[in-house]
Symmetry: C2
Subunit: 388 residues, 2 copies
């Protein structure tokens, strides 16, 4: 027995390994080489520097470079040692081709010279999308802490604050509640520091990133989110901040306001609540993810609110996404998604609207897919909350 895996997560890790192995068998693959931090955390229960080799017989070997104090694992200096230590080379070997960089991949292909290497990304993505009861419990804990931190936001607001100043105090609230701060996103191209706080018309500034909402940001090096806007009466303030409290995370957005918002903004916000409610009821195992996208869009069209939906000057092409260790996992609620909902999927639903002159409104909740529909784990008031 090795002690790389914290005892509380050992059973769960074993069943994760078994589920990966079952998919490897189904695809005629002999083993999966896990290389990225998210994958290593998933198959071991902790982040370490090195590799894990999950075999189709549901065994796993941990090859560790650092830290130097883990008992019962195989220590290596370089990946070229792995095949020697195994005593064989898997004939058909999957690698994480959606995260592994080309140079590392080439080196690993040489180290496993006898193997036929195939892409294992889809298998990892599929297995990870279905959360165990252990993982769901971690995410429920995130939801509680996430909501508790948000409940303190009105108390920290001061008249005349900028969005950046408010964001800094929200970051502090979250951190004091136990938020780890780090916000794991799949893929090189999305970056965000701890959250997106949008006040007034900054919400209508398009960003390069594939998030639901935009914002110009403070600097061209990270052009997203708060940009120094002074929060004024009539502004909506949308808060969508990091819910990572234990390696897993919830995604949760609430909208705040200063003074009175327009009828249009209030209508849009209520529509967001209604869409959340409807998708929660419709989201059952076997339902196509794209169907949920369509239902949301139909509701928006019936209300005549397309102009403002999922952005105004630039629009996002989805209304929800799976999440867990990363903020963007399967399934994706988008028009061309081929995902089908399954028990254990955890999905953030975020129908949002950008109303010129007001800002962004709407709510985002995180839901667990059950036989009865989707169960909300970000329980907090959904109405627009006055600041100050």
């Amino acid at each position: 027995m090795n002690n790389i895996t914290p005892s509380c997560v050992r059973n769960d890790v074993q069943s994760r390994i078994a589920r990966i192995a079952a998919m490897l068998q189904a695809h005629g693959i002999d083993a999966m080489l896990v290389t990225d931090n998210v994958g290593l955390y998933y198959v071991s229960g902790r982040v370490y520097a090195g590799y894990a080799l999950v075999s189709s017989d549901a065994t796993v070997r941990y090859f560790v470079r650092r830290p130097n104090d883990i008992e019962g694992v195989d220590y290596i200096r370089k990946p070229e040692q792995i095949v020697d230590m195994l005593g064989y080379c898997p004939a058909k070997l999957a690698m994480q081709c959606d995260s592994l960089c080309v140079n590392d991949y080439n080196r690993l292909c040489s180290a496993f010279a006898q193997a036929q290497v195939v892409d294992g990304s889809a298998i990892m993505r599929s297995v990870r999308s279905v959360k165990s009861s252990y993982e769901i419990e971690l995410m429920r804990q995130c939801g509680l802490k996430h909501a508790r931190a948000y409940s303190r936001i009105p108390a920290i607001y001061k008249a005349g604050m900028t969005d950046v100043e408010l964001q800094i105090e929200i970051e502090r609230l979250l951190r004091l509640e136990g938020c780890l701060g780090i916000f794991r996103v799949h893929g090189e191209s999305m970056e965000l520091f701890m959250g997106n706080i949008l006040a007034g018309d900054n919400a209508d500034n398009p960003t390069p990133y594939d998030f639901a909402m935009g914002g110009a940001g403070q600097d061209p090096s990270i052009p997203v989110g708060a940009n120094g806007t002074v929060i004024e009466p009539g502004h909506a303030v949308m808060v969508d901040a990091c819910g990572n409290f234990n390696g897993y995370m919830t995604d949760m957005t609430r909208t705040y306001c200063v003074g009175q918002l327009t009828e249009l903004a209030l209508k849009a916000h209520q529509l967001s609540i209604d869409i959340n409610c409807r998708l929660a009821a419709e989201g059952k195992p076997g339902v196509e993810a794209k169907r949920l996208y369509e239902i949301a869009l139909e509701m928006v069209q019936q209300a005549g609110m397309e102009d403002y939906y999922m952005g105004h000057r630039q629009k996002a092409g989805f209304v929800g996404h799976g999440l867990g260790i990363e903020i963007n996992e399967a399934p994706v609620l988008a028009p061309r998604s081929r995902d089908v909902l399954a028990v254990g999927h955890v999905i953030a639903v975020e129908p949002k609207f950008v109303i010129p002159g007001t800002g962004a409104v709407g709510v985002e909740n995180t839901y667990v897919v059950t036989e009865q529909g989707m169960d909300c784990i970000t329980l907090a008031p959904e109405e627009i909350i006055p600041l100050g």
Copy 2:
């Protein structure tokens, strides 16, 4: 003329393109396809979603997916459109094989089917390591703000605080000073949230990450840094936090204490100051980076302090590193480094010691390499600073 590049950085971007082009010519490469956010920021002055193609004739084309409001660039939906829009396919094309994932690489290779694709990572790394006076000015501004935020740390300390509580207040100080928060690291395997604050013996906990210092962290999902240690008399508190104020960053460590530290700790700290001073004088253009590593090690050996140097239970294998947009750029001050110092290199020097029972001590400064030696841009008192 396009307006992707902010006017203040246009001349500098032009000279960056020219320097990349010169290296492409020298290697007989026709063009470099820039794909990662750091590279796009470098060749355009802003982060966007898309690609840049830098040709060996020192022209550049920007292919943009998002945001949707940039004038004078080529908008694309997918990379397969690029060759058509160019009207030709470069015969020999470099890609960023140290950051591009295998799946994206394969797709791009198909999109540029006529091209011979080679690794351009080393060229980008080499060009980016030599900073222009514009970039150095940005980094000087970071140094000033970094030092100003650190100067307020004693005022926020309260007796009985944990390292995590102190870290949260330091994060807030930095953010209020203008820190963007985001901490860009090259490579998948290094992760850190905004900084590493180490109190007492937590400094001796090894981490998986390739940072100079360790710390157990708060959770196995991000096992580095502060772990909830209550700061007590006799503890050293090492603060090494994010200095990204404008897309570029400085790296700066200072050591604080509560009560009196041991003679051994004080000796180690003074040795760190002395090593900084010596390396600053020795670090001139043409000097091998590994020579600076050796000089530092010789000073440590002469003082009989090897047991504590660069970690105690687990040791880091370097004493300094280049930095700029990312925290880990060239050159690297390590025993097997093949880097040679050049005017415009910016280097963080961080000779640190872990003293059992006390914690981590030492200072880290960021230096600009000049003809006369290395010029410190993190100007702040170097002695151990009492808290409270």
